[in-house]
């Protein structure tokens, strides 16, 4: 019983990182209807850059985190300028945007390889002090709590920003209908660029937390989370922020539960993708998605 409880708690921790990754993913999809497959590469670069800042530049993690996140935001601006903005007027911008984001993913991944090498790295041992709390058979580390706290803080901040702030409302207006938004005097291209900034910054933050949680980072670490992130945003409904958060938690839980119930980790991803496949066929709009998204 303790083991199961422990697994559930672990599932929530990793699920919050998935959620943070997926929120950025789904934000761009909600605004542009484009799947940004370079999101995972930004995630990787964010994590690796933070390690470099701590290790080589000697910054504390509390400084390296925002610096790396900001740099990832800049990468988002680059992505928009190079890969998405030139295609925006094209009739098949959904399709060509997907392809150009694959191209940018390859370029970013090669940059990660060139800048940080192919080896697996980790944060230096004393980057962050870790306490372990135990209740009975359950143990929670302060690192896990901090990761969840940061992830939840960022997700709540984003939700509040989208609901309250003027720019946030403008983002939602562009997501709803960019032509109307333009008529209302919203600087649509600027808003889209800003959306990419936020999305990529969140992706980079997820990369750092992921690296801290698993204590290992490599240039290809984005590969596995790329597909999981897709699963999460489908599950939650494309473009839905609360859906992405819940989807991330559900996905984290389903992973650990599959391992706990079958006793092996082999089938972990198979269950997740079977669920994804079924959701797509039975309820293409996802659990919290809006109906119109189906036509995208």
């Amino acid at each position: 019983m303790d083991l199961l409880a422990q697994q559930l708690i672990n599932g929530l921790f990793i699920g919050s990182v998935y959620g943070l990754f997926a929120v950025g993913y789904t934000l761009v999809f909600g605004v542009l209807d484009i799947l940004n497959l370079a999101h995972a590469a930004v995630f990787t670069l964010g994590g690796l850059l933070a390690v470099w800042l701590v290790e080589a530049a000697g910054l504390s993690l509390w400084l390296a985190f925002p610096v790396s996140v900001f740099c990832c935001g800049l990468l988002g601006l680059l992505l928009d300028r190079v890969a998405f903005a030139p295609l925006r007027q094209r009739a098949d911008s959904n399709f060509s945007g997907l392809i150009s984001s694959i191209a940018m993913a390859i370029i970013f991944e090669s940059a990660a390889l060139g800048l940080f090498g192919a080896r697996t790295v980790r944060f230096p041992a004393h980057t962050i002090s870790v306490h372990i709390w135990r209740w009975g058979g359950i143990s929670i580390t302060s690192l896990q709590v901090e990761i969840v706290a940061v992830a939840i803080l960022l997700m709540v901040a984003l939700t509040q920003f989208l609901n309250r702030a003027r720019v946030g409302k403008a983002i939602r207006a562009v997501a709803e209908n960019d032509r109307t938004a333009r008529l209302l005097g919203i600087h649509v291209d600027g808003i889209i660029a800003f959306t990419f900034f936020i999305s990529s910054a969140l992706g980079g933050a997820a990369g750092i937390l992921f690296g801290l949680y698993f204590d290992s980072l490599s240039p290809d670490m984005g590969r596995s989370i790329e597909l999981k992130g897709l699963a999460v945003i489908i599950l939650g409904g494309m473009g839905s922020i609360p859906g992405a958060i819940l989807g991330g938690l559900a996905f984290g839980l389903s992973e650990v539960l599959t391992v706990a119930l079958t006793g092996t980790s082999n089938l972990r991803d198979a269950v997740a993708f079977t669920v994804l496949f079924t959701v797509l066929i039975l309820r293409p709009a996802g659990l919290l998605g809006r109906k119109k998204m189906r036509e995208a």
């Binding site: 890969a83 940018m104 590969r223 489908i234 993708f273 496949f277 797509l280 995208a296």
Partner: protein, 296 residues
């Protein structure tokens, strides 16, 4: 003659890979021709490859029969998957086929008969270069003819506007499924040939990154004419060798060049490299049209 045979001894396997990749790219082209974005081709190749490999290796089935069985099974799975999945559009279809591909890969990874992660080892190497290129010629010819048949026009109309095609009385479900199943059969066929090339196949050779590679071949080559995918597959498969010849070492730079080529093509040549040839052809046709005075 001596030089030629030496050339072939060095680059023979490269030519084999080009042929196989061209066949695989054509299999995806069949599905793209009807406007359906599938990321499942690699999985169908895997189904064909493993089926044929197991048949010749463990059951001593004659090679042609095994290849046929692999293609038919891939096609049958394509039918079962295609019917529900093809109700989805665009990105959603891509994600559904992608999750199908992941499930296939994980299943193959966990079965005993497929050899798990080590792969299927000891498959007789029966496939010959001439066999590959004969198949490629037949497939390319059939696909080129298909384009101007009734089926080809139906595919084209569905790609341009599915609603309009349905309004014209085209059974869109039938033709979409047909394009998907034909693609699956050809992918299964190419996979079966591939399995008998190098004594061994592993699940990784049919994963997500391969599915993306096939899409890249199509985009770089162009998806408006049959020789686009062949061109893309040939160029991108040979590119590592070409780059090695010009002194570019393996690693980040080569990867970045791959990404850059894809990005430049999607930004500046939306119909792929083949559109250069098409433009030349059209120029000639125009010149010919000008030469003959129009009859009214």
């Amino acid at each position: 003659m001596e030089a030629l045979s030496q050339f072939f001894a060095v680059y023979g396997s490269l030519f084999n890979f080009i042929g196989i990749n061209a066949l695989l790219a054509l299999s995806l082209y069949l599905t793209l021709a009807a406007g359906q974005l599938s990321l499942g081709s690699a999985a169908f190749a895997g189904i064909g490859g493993y089926t044929a490999g197991i048949l010749t290796m463990k059951l001593m089935v004659p090679f042609p029969l095994a290849v046929a069985a692999g293609s038919v099974l891939a096609g049958a799975v394509g039918l079962v998957i295609g019917l529900p999945v093809l109700r989805l559009r665009g990105v959603f279809l891509a994600i559904a086929t992608l999750s199908f591909g992941e499930v296939v890969r994980i299943v193959v990874l966990n079965l005993d008969i497929t050899g798990g992660a080590q792969g299927l080892v000891g498959i007789p190497a029966i496939t010959t270069t001439s066999g590959i290129y004969l198949s490629l010629a037949v497939a390319a010819y059939a696909i080129a003819r298909l384009r101007y048949s009734r089926i080809g026009w139906c595919f084209e109309s569905i790609r341009e506007d599915e609603t309009a095609a349905a309004a014209l009385g085209i059974n869109t479900t039938y033709y979409k499924t047909l394009s998907f199943v034909l693609g699956a059969v050809l992918a299964g066929f190419a996979g079966a040939l591939y399995a008998h090339l190098n004594y061994i196949i592993t699940p990784r050779e049919f994963g997500f990154s391969v599915a993306v590679d096939l899409l890249i071949y199509n985009i770089v080559g162009g998806i408006r004419v049959w020789y686009g995918p062949v061109l893309g597959a040939a160029l991108l498969t040979a590119l590592p060798e070409i780059l090695r010849g010009t002194g570019v070492a393996a690693g980040p730079v080569r990867m970045a060049i791959n990404g850059l080529i894809l990005l430049l093509v999607i930004l500046f040549l939306p119909n792929g490299l083949a559109s250069i040839f098409m433009r030349i052809g059209k120029g000639r046709a125009k010149a010919a049209a000008h030469a003959i005075p129009e009859e009214v």
